[in-house]
Amino acid sequence: MTNTIIRNIIRFFVLILVQVLIVKNIELGRFINPFVYVLFILMLPFETPKWLLLISSFILGLVIDMFYDTSGMHAAACVLMAYIRPGVLKLFSPRDGYEFGTQPSIQYLGIPWFLSYAGILVLTHHLVLFYIEIFRFSEFFSTFFRVIISSLFTIFLVVISQYLFQRKKDQE
């Protein structure tokens, strides 16, 4: 149990540093802005208390906001994403529920499950984030295009990082 908590705390800081120092500087055209740090919210264990889920996502968003100079945008998107997470988990739950002690990851539940789970959450996050950033409807379609492309890229990075994690676990 403590092991899981420590691992999540470490993941929190590592993901922030990765996002701010590496991913922020990846510039693949104007339309692709991946936000890999949402992996933290995706990977929280199933039995995380709901209040902790909201609060930790809120803090994560706020820290990212500090680095991106976007007061409150990332925090708002993260909190909404955390809010719909339990609903999405329920929607995709296997017939006899989730096993205790497992994490919502590819290695426990397989690629199709993870893609639909991460897909919905990442898309929500990016939708909220990009539309708050624009704050007007005049550039509706170009923003929508940005949301789709960036989400695909984020999910791609998230899946890759899952495989890195998995290999590490087998060695332990």
Binding site: R30, N33, L54, D65, S71, G72, A76, V79, I132, E139
Partner: protein
């Protein structure tokens, strides 16, 4: 009352969500409205120190091109006779002259954080209120206009880049002085749009666009870019002109903060006049 408490504890997840989300939106709105220094921006000490460390490391990769650019600039500056009269005060350059009063002073600053790929882009510089920077000062580089200072902390300031949906810079065509507002359409960091140029003006590709005499932040005739193409919307008697920016926002690392010494005086006078007319 008891029912209410029960209701809230039962649905605490939803209420906590509402509270957090309201908080996020409120700081967001507040910052947009007042453009004021708030605690969540990269002027704040922790993130600024992390970013400046990372910037310090990155700078080594640009040393060569930066040196070449500086050498070129030095050679150009030395050829200006006036500079032999300059004295150095707190890293700020002033010119002593008995006939003319100095209107603008330039302070050198280093870019520690920069973005070009978002719709609203900001820069962070390593000069702040300790070095005499206040908000709404103009920022230029040796190749042209960069942006406007927005928030200031003790040792850092954030700059609303020209690549921001709310930045409007009053600019003019160098050849005949026709002026109009210039802003960024979000398409590419290399181009901006100049509006309201009357159709009787004959435009050519490559015409120079500079800051007009009506801006308070910048001296007149600071380079912005060159005309790339233009078109006319059928309903309006104006051209919309696409400007190729002279500043390469991807490569910015040394900039100058411009201080207009007469700014407050002019602003106060104008304010007084407006109030007098009400």
């Amino acid at each position: 009352m008891r029912n209410l408490v029960e209701f809230i504890t039962k649905n605490y997840f939803f209420f906590l969500f509402l509270i957090l989300e309201t908080f996020c939106i409120s700081i967001l709105i507040q910052n947009n409205k007042f453009q004021r220094a708030s605690f969540v921006n990269s002027s704040s000490q922790i993130s600024a120190s992390v970013l400046s460390t990372s910037e310090n490391i990155q700078q080594y990769f640009y040393l060569k091109s930066e040196n070449e650019r500086l050498a070129k600039e030095n050679a150009e500056l030395l050829s200006h006779d006036l500079l032999s009269f300059s004295v150095l005060v707190n890293g700020e350059y002033r010119v002593n002259d008995t006939i003319k009063r100095q209107k603008y002073t330039f302070t050198h600053a280093k870019v520690v954080n920069n973005s070009t790929n978002r719709r609203n882009n900001y820069l962070t510089l390593n000069k702040g209120s300790n070095q005499g920077v206040t908000n709404k000062m103009g920022v230029t580089s040796s190749s042209g206009v960069v942006g406007i200072v927005e928030n200031v902390s003790e040792n850092f300031c954030t700059v609303k880049s020209l690549l921001h949906s709310n930045t409007i810079i009053n600019s003019k065509l160098k050849k005949d002085g026709t002026f109009g507002p210039l802003n960024w359409d979000g398409e590419s960091f290399e181009y901006a749009t100049l509006n309201d140029i009357p159709t009787h003006v004959r435009l050519f590709k490559g015409d120079t666009v500079v800051t007009s005499q009506y801006t308070l932040m910048f001296p007149e005739n600071i380079l912005i870019g060159t005309v790339d193409s233009y078109y006319r919307e059928s309903t309006k008697p104006f051209y919309t002109v696409k400007i190729k920016l002279s500043t390469d926002f991807k490569k910015l690392s040394h900039v100058y903060i411009v201080d207009n010494k007469f700014r407050t005086e002019q602003e106060e006078l104008e304010k007084k006049t407006e109030e007098g007319n009400k």
